[in-house]
Symmetry: C2
Subunit: 184 residues, 2 copies
DNA sequence: ATAAAAAAATACTATCCGGTATAAAATGCC
DNA sequence: GGCATTTTATACCGGATAGTATTTTTTTAT
């Protein structure tokens, strides 16, 4: 099994089960020896870091895709809601949210990456609201930075809810309700 | 150190650091031998269960106190917000929220208690909204059960935010914003 | 084909975990 | 005081953890 496959096994394991999955277990599932993993990633911190970077690249790509689409402001929000609450890929939650919750158990490089990704995501949301305000699509009076923090928190909440087994049919209305306030 | 003190040490440890704190560490901090702990609580599941029950009794007592007070509907909501976001006792988050997030690592009895407490809390919130509707203090059109789920989720979110180090001054406006929708 | 280099598998270290058996100390009882 | 009981402390068990040293296999180069 190639190194890229190993990384994908790690991403799936951390994504579905959280960062407390052992490197032993990941080696076993990937059919890769421990020395190979350590040569490739340096250690547990390197592996969790690589998995987080891979996941974040994927997710932020999808996010940019939605936010730079031709959809209206409200349409983009709705697409975000649908992706978070209904996409089968998010059935077990969000790798980033799980790592952030267990931040103190992570290595220093992975911890730093968590902070960096969080700031980057909020920045993306902030631009979304600034643009919406500029285009007149977002009539709200609250600050774009605050709205971005709120949106980020609510999406993380929905991811946590899916991670603890809440049905998509339960999560989606709650998220829609929480974000409905952003339209007014 | 007496058994009650041991329980309070366990509550504080699980509350501030999460349920992955080892029984070894709790014994050491409490100055109690492992056999004593096992005689008193039977095992890790018994200890986490006792800590969760103690914590839940405390919190649900405070909750009932607020919700059965003479405050108005909006005043009760505001008191709930202030307690969740600002009380220094919640500086490290909420024991229940942490145990719920790590549910799969807990013993069967503690897991069952988590489910039970969740249902009980949502029930308390549901009564709060039903009464508010009946008294004409809550003009909203959404179902009390849905509002209860929403309130429960938002309070848990705020607790998680405090647990990962967010300032009370950041958490409170976000929670106020999320719950402002319940007034309309 | 053979020698050199790289990769991999196995086995190991030291440490921690939850849980317990055993031995030592302290207590109660008469 | 001396015996019995209970509580304590220490040491241990089996298993899992992150990480590594060693040996075996495979590949590569000449």
């Amino acid at each position: 099994m190639s190194p890229e496959d190993l990384l994908q096994v790690a991403v799936a394991a951390y994504w579905h089960e959280g960062p407390e999955v052992s490197v032993n277990a990941i080696c076993q599932r990937a059919g890769v020896s421990k020395p190979s993993l350590y040569r490739e990633f340096g250690g547990e911190d390197g592996l969790t870091l690589a998995a987080l970077e891979s996941y974040a690249g994927m997710i932020q790509g999808q996010l940019q895709e939605v936010l730079s689409s031709k959809l209206s402001f409200a349409g983009k929000l709705e697409a975000l809601i649908a992706f978070t609450a209904e996409d089968p890929r998010n059935e077990h939650g969000c790798l980033f949210v799980k790592m952030r919750a267990a931040r103190q158990d992570l290595g220093p490089r992975t911890q730093a990456k968590v902070t960096e990704i969080e700031a980057g995501t909020v920045e993306i949301y902030t631009r979304f609201f600034r643009d919406g305000r500029k285009n007149g699509e977002w009539p709200g009076s609250i600050a774009p930075g605050f709205a971005a923090q709120y949106l980020h928190a609510q999406i993380g909440l929905a991811a946590s809810q899916r991670a603890i087994g809440m049905e998509a049919a339960t999560v989606k209305p709650l998220l829609q309700y929480a974000l409905s306030i952003l339209k007014s």
